[in-house]
Symmetry: C2
Subunit: 321 residues, 2 copies
Amino acid sequence: MTVVSSEPLIPLLQAELRRWVGNGENLLELVCLDALFPSGKLLRPVLCVESAKSVGGDVGAVLTFAAGLECLHVASLIHDDIVDQDPVRRGRASTAEQFGIAEALLAGDALSMTGYTAMISGRPGDRVLEAVRVVVDALNRMCRAMMRETEIREDLDCGLSTVLGVIRGKTAALIGAACESGAILVGATHAQKGHLRRYGELIGQAFQMRDDLLPYTVDDRVTGKTAVSDVANRQPTLPVVLAYQAASEADRRRLTTVFRGDVDPVTAHRDVLDIVLRTGAAVETARQAHACVDAARAELDALPHPARLAELALSVVDRHR
Amino acid sequence: MTVVSSEPLIPLLQAELRRWVGNGENLLELVCLDALFPSGKLLRPVLCVESAKSVGGDVGAVLTFAAGLECLHVASLIHDDIVDQDPVRRGRASTAEQFGIAEALLAGDALSMTGYTAMISGRPGDRVLEAVRVVVDALNRMCRAMMRETEIREDLDCGLSTVLGVIRGKTAALIGAACESGAILVGATHAQKGHLRRYGELIGQAFQMRDDLLPYTVDDRVTGKTAVSDVANRQPTLPVVLAYQAASEADRRRLTTVFRGDVDPVTAHRDVLDIVLRTGAAVETARQAHACVDAARAELDALPHPARLAELALSVVDRHR
């Protein structure tokens, strides 16, 4: 497989983001820019552009739409950190922590609207509308999953299918929509759009599984998140639910105590880490993530230019942040 | 002028809202329905439909889009009550007060997306995109105005043009967009779209001026808001800034003390009420609202069926809630 670098794409996307968000002339722009930059790996816009290219499309036809996707994604992160009361994002203070809840809430709203503005600025109208429909549907699913997540807090009995549903809604839906919308905008066939949506949803699932696994594999200086955050929030993630299901009676009782919030965060995290490793839940989570990546790569077989997407699929499970 | 009743339109819009929001199967739908119903006067969707009719268009061509507008409007109210920490909306507990900040934030996001989903569901694509662009631009202006409002809190020296800018952004922009988008969807001429946008923006300004005046004219059992809310939030509104500019040195000092938050809310409101009435600021605010309504009605002269919109313009300044 040829290794194609995506390096030149990142600065293009960053310039496009700045063009739509503004250069910080007022408080709202400043807060939005602070949340956007330094940017992460720009996974969603990169996938949108690379999906377009994988079916022979041109970067220019999707660049603005892709930047809009990143705005909508970061807007959801800003709101997510308010919902989770998470003080840390990407290794530094979250927007809510830094500017206040009201300011973060409005910046998230503004960044969403900037995202929509960018997305609907393109032509031709019918393709743009079809692509926007796919994205809005994904955002709807994301929102429902975030609400579901608040409902299952502390609930270790919520079950595997619930946790997998949250993973699909919270992360996989928008990544699938990023890939599908890129295909739509360059006039891909119906079959190609389906392959790219499924590819995106599968690597989105893998991405979130790795994310849920990170607190139990590397320390928080590497991930840029507080490693104890999910446990501190008493949020049952995939490794935790797998561990709970496979655990001994004594370990189950310990997990139940921890998820009732009766244990200090550091001890809680150490105890959960111990059980997640001992029950094999960490290995099983990694296995499921790899299975998703394999399935994602299989979706690429029918595409004319699959190399870069195949490579990106692997990077999702190998990432360290 | 013929008085045309809009009564049959309200149940149509309510049914359309329920069709898009769902019937409360999960927590997110329940929270959204609670925020939407009992519905207010549905001013924005009614104006969208009546604008379409004023240029000879059909209700069926705009009903879904109009319902989407109401979703976006109510979503902004839900978030606004989080930003203002306002416990009361439409005479009962605000969404944040009733369900919690995280739940209200997510419900606002979900309701926005439902609004977008409804708006972009229509045909033909080019008209829908043009109408959505107008609405998103207005929402952008709304968001910036809400942020500006948090910046000028306590600042009685912020000036008349700043306060009028907030009024235009926070309220007039979306009402103007509601009217213009209704016109766009039924293929109005360029000139008709301009008249209807300006009509909407002018009655939107009048509407907000009346809203800002309500704490100084009727008691809070009538308005369904806590009459003391703006003062308690130390938010300089039009009547307050007009009063401050016209006030004696002693009254200015009193207002400054109140807006620093050094006075209990009830005394604060009584003092501000006294100064707003004594300086003539209340009368001047009402005069400006009426001038906006007159200018709005003048925009209707060139339209084929202006009667209902002319009537609605008057209702905006005569309302008691």
